[in-house]
């Protein structure tokens, strides 16, 4: 026993040496595409994609990545863009800002001309580097709403409605519903939000709009981690008694809010959630589709399982003798956000190749994305420019009806002038 113990240090030294030797060889292998129906002929174009496969929001990250990867594989299986295959360097960061910086540097080193900086803290950590290195960073649904200003953040692309635009659209929707139902006066709105920087972001916009419209707005904060909100819901149902509730919650708190509001007797068809409260899992965790009947959710992509692009992806899997991932249907909302993000990247590359031709740099990709107008792949509706990196901030609203999300209102914007006064102030 004693003798054996003495060898521990030696064994450890050996283990460390082996370990160090092992990490030297660990070259990052770029994700390779699936067998292709049409082999791309040109040189590859490299982009990056970050996501979280671990941690609190991995439910979103895994589906997001699957959607992104499937769409890129679909493009590659059709021969790439003008014959150039797209090579994606994936990087898992566990929603950790440090790892995100590591991912970014890794992708930059790998020759990526653009990347997806998935996650608000990661976006905040790398946005300065994106501008400095001239690498396009896209972050639909993440990052700061002010990044919509393309003059201030030349390489930052929200490419989807920011929290400001979402809040504006939500109020617009509430007022239109109010009018449609023929009610008089103005509705009273409660804003139930997660008390973090992202949750606080739309407050100023909401106040400005409420003041202009003469609405009564009450703000109710939910402290982290947001798994308990009976006191907030009691305040809403007992003392505020609003006509509508706009929720802006993250993680597991949207499902808690659905459950608590319903149990307190508040009608769910008077609740509209911003984009991180309108996932499939939020509805399921709250008590199922029947339970959440009537609940409204904002989306900045088209969702649903019968979209043409999903049929194409399914077709691609079938032709390889495989089944498409069940995330496509089970976690459709977040899967579609991945598809949409990839579609914008692909469209930007296509524009860049048309404008300048191979090889393209980050600056060309920036110009390519800024040239996008209208629908892309049938999933997003963007009007980008060098000034507007948000793309107009259009959203769709879906409602839980009959066991699935059903379109309640097609692409629309809310209070664009107010939002722009904030973006370009």
């Amino acid at each position: 026993m004693l003798r054996a113990r003495r060898f521990w240090p030696l064994a450890l030294v050996a283990a460390v040496a082996l370990f160090l030797a092992a990490c030297e060889g660990g070259e990052e292998q770029p994700a390779t595409g699936t067998p292709r129906a049409q082999q791309p002929t040109g040189a590859p174009i490299t982009i990056g994609m970050m996501y979280d496969g671990t941690g609190a929001t991995q439910l979103i990250g895994v589906a997001y990545k699957a959607g992104f990867e499937d769409y890129i594989n679909l493009i590659n299986s059709k021969g790439g863009i003008d014959g150039h295959p797209i090579n994606v360097i994936f990087c898992e960061h566990g929603y950790n800002a440090d790892r995100g910086v590591e991912c970014y540097e890794n992708q930059k080193r790998g020759g990526a001309i653009g990347t997806v900086t998935y996650g608000t803290p990661i976006t905040a950590a790398v946005i300065g580097r994106c501008n400095q290195d001239q690498i396009v960073c896209t972050f639909p649904g993440y990052g700061s709403a002010a990044a919509a200003n393309g003059e201030r953040f030349p390489y930052g692309f929200p490419i989807a409605a920011s929290y400001w635009s979402q809040a504006g659209a939500a109020v617009r929707f509430v007022l239109d519903e109010w009018q449609r139902e023929g009610k008089s006066g103005k509705p009273k709105i409660a804003y139930l939000f997660y008390d973090n920087p992202a949750g606080n972001e739309p407050r100023e916009v909401l106040r400005t709009i409420a003041q202009r419209e003469g609405l009564q707005l009450e703000e109710v904060a939910v402290p982290a981690p947001g798994t308990e909100m009976s006191s907030q819901v009691t305040r809403i149902t007992q003392s505020i008694r609003p006509d509508w509730v706009i929720t802006h919650l993250f993680g597991s708190s949207p499902s808690v809010s659905i459950k608590a509001l319903k149990e307190a007797g508040f009608p769910l068809n008077r609740v509209v959630a911003l984009v991180w409260g309108s996932g499939d899992a939020d509805v399921e965790a709250a008590g199922g589709w029947a339970f959440a009947e009537g609940y409204y959710g904002l989306q900045f992509t088209a969702i649903g399982t019968d979209l043409p692009v999903l049929r194409e992806i399914t077709e691609m899997y079938r032709s390889q003798g495989k089944q498409p991932p069940d995330l496509m249907t089970k976690n459709n909302v977040y899967y579609m956000r991945g598809v949409a993000n990839a579609a914008v990247m692909v469209e930007g590359i296509r524009n860049a190749l048309r404008q300048k031709g191979y090889p393209i740099t980050g600056a060309d990709l920036k110009a390519g994305i800024e040239a996008i107008r209208g629908e892309v792949a049938g999933v997003v509706n963007l009007n980008l420019s060098a000034r507007d990196h948000e793309g107009g901030g259009s959203v769709r609203i879906y409602q839980v009806r009959g066991g699935r999300w059903q379109l309640a209102r097609d692409w629309f914007q809310g209070y664009r002038d107010v939002i722009e006064s904030f973006v370009y102030r």
């Binding site: 990490c23 440090d98 540097e105 905040a124 950590a125 920087p197």
Partner: protein, 354 residues
Amino acid sequence: MINRECGIFRTTYQADMSLYGVPLARITVAAFALFFALVFPFVVDHKHLVWANFAGISIVAAIGLNLLTGYTGQISIGHAAFMATGGYTAAIMTTRADVPFWVGLIAGGVFASAYGLIVGLPSVRVKGFYLAIATLAAQFITEWIINHVEWIGGGFQASIIVPPASLGPVRFDTELEKYYLVLALVVLAVVAGLNIARSRLGRAFVAIRDRDVAAEIIGVDIFRYKLLSFMISSFFAGVAGALYVYYVGTATIEAFQISRSIEILAMIIIGGLGSILGSIFGAVFVVVLPLALEDILEFFRGVLPVTDIDTFVSQLKLMVFGGLIMLFLMVEPEGLNRLWRNVKDYFRVWPFSY
């Protein structure tokens, strides 16, 4: 370092107290310093340089916490709050007052230190778990303040973008330049830490840790030294936070949350409480190991029978990492530093074990 002390006699107190009493130790330390200054950054990948920079920032923070928790025995679960204080101070001063980066760095440390003094006040009255909760409260209060006070959080979503650090004509722009900045501060932190630990200050800290009543009886002013310990420790954390902000380029509260506090605490527990070298081991272990595991698991990409390999690897990495922490702590509860000492002791008398 591995040194044979045979034939070396210390004849003066000064020699006995010197940092490196053995000539060979001086040579090995110099060799390590030269290696990290001249060889390491040029032989490793860009990616590994990023790891080294994060590890370096963590080393500064971990040395600070080790002075407080390891040497003085005062636990803090709010060290990320001091990092945040330093980081935001530096960010605000750089963006609004346009001060040079070194002023921001020092101001970050000084402000964090002043904040540490306030947070440390309960330590005069409460100990152990109670102090842990008091510092935990500081963590949450700090997060709340930065989130809600616009003057501090400023910018967008409580984050402030900071231009890269520059010193005279030198701009710390590239990863390599940033590496030297981090390295310089790590060296300063290590030297400062070692000297604090072996001086009057450090001995007073250890006396308080081992038995505060006894320390008071032999004449250690507990009130003063406990607060001093908090201040010095927060200074290190503040500098680490400011360095983080200059390195990353953004001050964001999401980088200084409770998980970061626990990470620093984990570093010094894994590395070894009450040891500067242990802080370095711990920081490197916690920061570099998960990333290195990713590389190792990458080898098995083709072999593993799963469909979504990227996600699988990231999850497996966490499991292996957790397992390794448990393994190391079971093999040697006193941390990696103790393991290293065992190795040294083995070689010190080798080949004559007895």
